[in-house]
């Protein structure tokens, strides 16, 4: 799967309250949550996103609560993928489980706000079209690739239980 979009750059330690404030957790609708994505730290974020855009952030992206509303809000506002230097563990598994594409990259400092980039999830290659640069990322471990291939955790468990 190849994803192409404009980069929205964020710093280290973007937490789940930044991504979606607790007051909006009275809904589980991705579109509704998406309207308030990153509102606390960047009030105009959801309007600035065009469908397909990509978040690029520093260390520990998604730290804080276990709210799955965070990756849902990111998806719901039109973001197609997240690239970060590292992810907080619960956010990491939530993103995998609900099928929000993401990559860990050591090259996020080289990517600028507004760059147009293309990600090949199968190869893990990031193509910075604006800068004509190519960045390699580490492939996911096999089990996680299997989850992604099967369309998230619930499909995976359905197939697994069905096989019994």
């Amino acid at each position: 799967m190849v994803i192409k979009g404009k980069v929205h750059k964020f710093s280290d330690d973007i937490n789940t309250d930044d991504i979606i404030a607790a007051k909006y957790l009275v809904s589980t609708d991705a579109k509704e949550l998406g309207k308030h994505c990153m509102e606390t730290i960047r009030p105009d974020f959801s309007q600035a996103v065009s469908p397909g855009d990509i978040i690029v952030a520093g260390n520990n992206f998604g730290c804080g609560s276990s709210r799955e509303h965070a990756p849902l809000a990111i998806k719901g506002c039109g973001i197609s993928a997240v690239i970060a230097s590292s992810f907080a563990a619960i956010f990491f598994r939530n993103a995998i489980n609900i099928g929000l594409p993401f990559l860990e990259s050591v090259d996020v400092d080289k990517i600028n706000h507004g760059d147009i980039i293309e990600i090949d999830l199968a190869t893990g290659l990031i193509n910075n079209i604006t800068q004509s640069k190519l960045y390699k990322t580490r492939a996911f471990p096999e089990f996680l690739q299997e989850l992604v291939r099967q369309g998230g955790l619930m499909n995976w468990v359905r197939l697994r239980e069905g096989r019994k």
Binding site: N15, P141, M154, R158
Partner: protein, 418 residues
């Protein structure tokens, strides 16, 4: 092969012959917890999956505590999803508000979680139960939905980091100060994807309430779990419950990725300044920080010993003019105990409010939202921008003694000054 306590618990629940850090396992869970924020998503995923019956009526726990008692219509509808699902599936451990509490204080109190358990919860502070010598870890709603089907979860076995605390704690210094100090030293990603194992003579002397406070905030350093090996105090705590505990201990030659060792003899109460739990300073270094609100409670510090500490300072005193003091015991049992011991009266006479148990104020839900420009000292666990209300407010995190002392003076204050 030598193992840490965390690895031993995961090995037992994986059904494998051996495990190693970095490996993916499918593990059987003993308890699967969710609340009124996270359960609705889990329940809807479960229903969409086409499976009709949950894997166990006894191992699923549903606690409406975040926006409960329901703060508005949308919250009421979310809470009702839990009640309806519990009824439909015959789930035993559903707690209506009259018998409820903040989940991470409630489950140990009821004997639902036990040493040696593998506990998953759709709430990041699920790591609290590590204080019992259990492997307890926060996950998302979809993870819970999966567990509802087959009683299992996927895990990547984390490496462990050992934290040894030596020396003797000063008066007014407890588990909350130790964990704030630790996060201040290693940062909010200092234990990213690791297990934090807390040990040493200082930990052995801590009571269970302080141990829960410490493990509760392991997530604030990015950890998957925070564990304390069981001892006499643990055994005493779980004695008398119906479920039988299993005690695991780390092998002497178990592998730790890192070991930190600190002498905490001179440690004073610690305060995490806005807007990160790692922005930690000793209380006496904070000069003239005026507060508008003091919040004492939560899954971190809403237990009876926390309330006793706060009451010992507030007895016969008045809250500073213009300061709002909100005290919320973590469970109905603690609430009743505080009433019996006269603590509730001390709080009300001091000019504070004594609330029903709820997560409300901690996450800016209800029962004490901060206005633009307001400053709070809170015994809660997160001080992210806007966490307790306005994005223009400021939250300082502390132990209950500092929060009580500060309510009296109106400024962040060392409790020894009261």
């Amino acid at each position: 092969m030598p193992y840490t306590i965390a690895e031993k618990i995961l090995l037992k629940h994986s059904g494998q012959k051996s495990i190693k850090p970095g490996e993916f396992i499918q593990a059987k869970v003993d308890v699967a917890l969710a609340n009124d924020i996270t359960a609705p998503l889990a329940i809807s995923e479960f229903k969409k999956s086409g499976f009709k019956k949950v894997f166990s009526k006894n191992k699923i726990v549903l606690v409406p505590d975040h926006f409960a008692p329901a703060k508005d219509l949308k919250s009421a509808n979310q809470c009702k999803i839990l009640a309806d699902f519990a009824k439909e599936q015959g789930i035993k451990n559903y707690f209506e508000i009259g018998c409820m509490g903040i989940e991470h204080a409630l489950l140990p109190e009821k004997g639902i979680v036990m040493p040696g358990d593998l506990i998953i919860g759709a709430d990041s502070h699920t790591c609290t139960y590590g204080a019992l010598g259990a492997y307890a870890t926060g996950m998302g709603s979809t993870d819970l939905a999966r567990a509802y089907i087959d009683g299992k979860c996927w895990l990547k076995v984390p490496a462990s980091i050992k934290f040894i605390y030596k020396g003797k704690l000063n008066k007014w210094v407890g588990g909350k100060d130790l964990i704030l100090y630790t996060i201040g030293q290693i940062g909010v990603d200092g234990a990213l994807y690791k297990v934090m194992e807390f040990c040493g003579p200082v930990i052995r002397k801590l009571g269970m309430d302080d141990r829960f406070s410490m493990c509760n905030m392991a997530i604030e350093a990015g950890a998957r779990a925070g564990l304390i090996e069981p001892d006499k105090k643990t055994k005493q705590y779980v004695a008398g419950f119906k479920r039988k505990p299993k005690f695991y201990y780390s092998d002497a030659d178990a592998h730790y990725e890192k070991t930190y060792e600190w002498d905490v003899t001179d440690l004073e109460p610690q305060v995490a300044c806005p807007h990160l739990p790692s922005n930690v300073k000793p209380v006496s270094s904070l000069k003239n920080i005026k507060i508008d609100q003091s919040v004492i409670g939560s899954c971190t510090n809403g237990r009876i010993s926390d309330l006793r500490i706060a009451a010992s300072l507030l007895k016969g005193k008045k809250v500073a003019k213009g300061v709002k003091l909100i005290i919320f015991p973590a469970t109905q049992k603690i609430y009743l105990q505080a009433v019996k011991e006269g603590l509730a009266e001390i709080f009300v006479r001091a000019g504070g409010v004594f609330s029903t148990p709820t997560c409300g104020p901690c996450l800016g839900g209800h029962m004490g939202i901060l206005a633009d420009g307001e400053v709070a000292i809170a015994t809660t666990n997160r001080n992210f921008l806007g966490r307790m209300g306005s994005p223009k407010s400021f939250v300082y995190l502390s132990d209950p003694a500092v929060a009580a002392a500060s309510a009296i003076t109106g400024r962040i204050t060392h409790p020894a000054k009261i």
